[in-house]
Symmetry: C2
Subunit: 391 residues, 2 copies
């Protein structure tokens, strides 16, 4: 039976064009793009073609502002640690938010153990950072602001342009983790005004394990991977050319179809939100009504465990998640949901639903019916729900 | 016309089985191995199957001692920076050699700028480190010894087992950069006694941009990429599953064929070394006669520029290199060759030849004939050679 994938944020199928391009590349026996002789020329051309496609997707002013790497986590580590190391003489203070991805949180923790200081701004009950709080947190010692573009558990989008106005005025480097945004919503790094932006190919139907860091020209940053002269001396190591070719192809196709795909995902999201009250009661929506990704909904089903819902839906061949795939195995309540003001109990009832271009309205309906059954079954054995429903 | 690839160290064609496995994986639409629901199970299985194959190739005691990443450069950066950060309380002194790859050199330079101290031992005129010098360099502050297994420009192999005996006795962590060795010669991490070993899939006919770090259980090391819980919490980030599947397949096939392939490469190397005097004179062999990779020869052709030889051979569809692909663009004489005691002039005349299982005896002969023509042409216009040949 076909699985209904409503957990596209942890994995999207590759585009047919991406698969074809990668298979073609596998069969082409590309040489090393850095080799001295002519065998490497075709590889170097393929590499730069992919870089152009990606640069166009994010509207980088210059193609070389795109640095390829092994994915979103490497991008984030490079951005944060690279800026921290390169600007330590100016200061050791970094501003971030309470709802960042583990890649950001743990990179910052690493820096804290090395003497760097953090200020983490909170979000309001709708999940958004107040730019004024970022402005207030910046000191003369601040070298970096790192605020994510969209949250990987709720899909809520932050006021990046407004924050960038502040960081530019205060001459502080601004990094945004846009791993779940690039290829899902229109992204224009020049308009946004960020200095660094992390992104990954699998968000826009490319392969996993390949991503990029946008580095605005002139941004003071050290490499995370030191070694050879690849990627304009910004990221050493022989390139994952197959992955990069896949990423370039995904970027080009996504750019052509972004409006259409965004509208489709949004229609599924609207359908879900509109029909949900007809299927279950006592739930919270954690995703911002206006400022959010078109393809994500975080909902907390009260009085039951999200983990149980997920497993029972899995038995029905419906894939959903309760948290970031990067946090699988952790039993603690999501720091993102707690930051939104949810109780631990409500946070434990959370489902994260994420769509892609291939999901259908019928799948949403199938999910809603299954959800109703699962929730009813679980609430029938929930003492808490019995108490509430009896008044 | 088919190119004769005698620069296999910068790029080897993938095995047909690797290509087939990767194409199969592309068509399988694997889900995220870390996803919570059953869709990710097949991906997790494929990941662990690859890990087993790689662990077997290097004879790791435990499969989980293999940590997948984006290649040799990441492995080296992880090993060196991860140990330095995790053991800073014990001390900040590291012992290395004069002939390491740029990934090692530049990782160490980065640490030096953070207050770490280095001792770099020299090599003898044959290119080998004296283990006693390593022993003498170790102090109470020493936390790491990093000495490469085989050199990427000469192929000379270091006395790793002897050095490991010393580091174990002195309780210092030992990392070896075996990027050009693993899959080319038999490697047994237990017998060698190293704590950390860097390697890459493309050395053994796998894809580029994927590699591994062997981390002996109990070795104190921090991640280089902080974030999610992938790779046993040792390397965050969604995995390059396609690349890892390719690497696992390459490891399995290589393990089966290693003896045969090694013998074949060695026969080409012996043919080259034996016949060379029949074609040109005035050259130096920089590769150790006994302790060296079966597939590499570094030779310095005197009185001419290696770069010119490389370009003229390229016109004849013969690919060779003059240095590491990671150092392309650099005009400085190789630090490896200078460390061997070569003059700058001789170092500039260097060709690095590297073979693979598909090279043939005929190709070696074709190369030798072409080399003779090129060298004759270049020496005809070399004032230095005129002087020497006239007495």
């Amino acid at each position: 039976m076909k699985i209904i994938n409503l957990d596209q944020i942890s994995s999207k199928p590759m585009l047919p064009e991406v698969k074809a391009a990668m298979i073609d590349a596998i069969n082409k026996d590309y040489h090393n793009p850095s080799s001295q002789h002519k065998s490497g020329e075709a590889a170097a051309e393929a590499l730069e073609k992919a870089r152009s496609s990606v640069a166009e997707l994010i509207n980088a002013a210059m193609t070389k502002e795109v640095v390829f790497n092994s994915g979103g986590t490497e991008s984030v580590n490079h951005a944060i640690k690279g800026v921290a190391m390169a600007n330590a003489e100016k200061g050791k203070h970094i501003v971030t938010s309470n709802i960042e991805h583990n890649a950001v949180i743990r990179s910052l923790k690493r820096l804290q153990s090395m003497g760097y200081k953090m200020t983490s701004v909170s979000v309001n009950e709708k999940g958004r950072v107040n730019p004024q709080e970022v402005a207030d947190a910046i000191t003369d010692e601040t070298i970096l602001v790192s605020i994510m573009h969209s949250n990987n558990e709720t899909g809520t989008i932050q006021p990046i342009e407004e924050i960038a106005k502040i960081t530019r005025e205060r001459k502080v480097i601004f990094h945004t983790d846009a791993v779940d945004s690039v290829g899902m919503v229109p992204i224009d790094v020049q308009k946004m005004g960020v200095d660094l932006m992390s992104f990954a190919a699998n968000t826009f139907y490319g392969p996993t394990g390949v991503g990029g860091l946008y580095i605005r020209r002139g941004t003071r940053i050290f490499p995370l991977l030191d070694g050879g002269v690849q990627e304009g001396n910004k990221r050493a190591g022989t390139e994952n050319l197959l992955g990069i070719i896949g990423m370039g192809t995904a970027a080009a196709i996504t750019r052509q179809n972004l409006d259409k795909w965004t509208a489709h995902c949004l229609s599924l999201k609207n359908q879900l939100l509109k029909e949900l009250p007809n299927y279950i009661d006592h739930y919270l929506i954690n995703t911002h009504a206006e400022h959010s990704l078109p393809n994500m909904v975080s909902m907390s089903v009260q009085f039951i465990e999200g983990e149980s819902v997920m497993l029972m839906l899995d038995d029905e061949d419906i894939a959903v998640s309760t948290r970031s795939a990067c946090a699988t195995g952790s039993l603690r309540a999501s720091h993102v949901l707690i930051s939104l003001g949810l109780s631990h109990a409500d946070a434990q009832g959370t489902l994260v639903l994420s769509f892609g271009k291939d999901n259908t309205a019928e799948e949403i309906t199938t999910f809603l019916i299954a959800l109703k059954n699962v929730v009813t079954t679980l609430r029938d054995i929930s003492p808490l729900y019995q108490k509430v429903s009896q008044g």
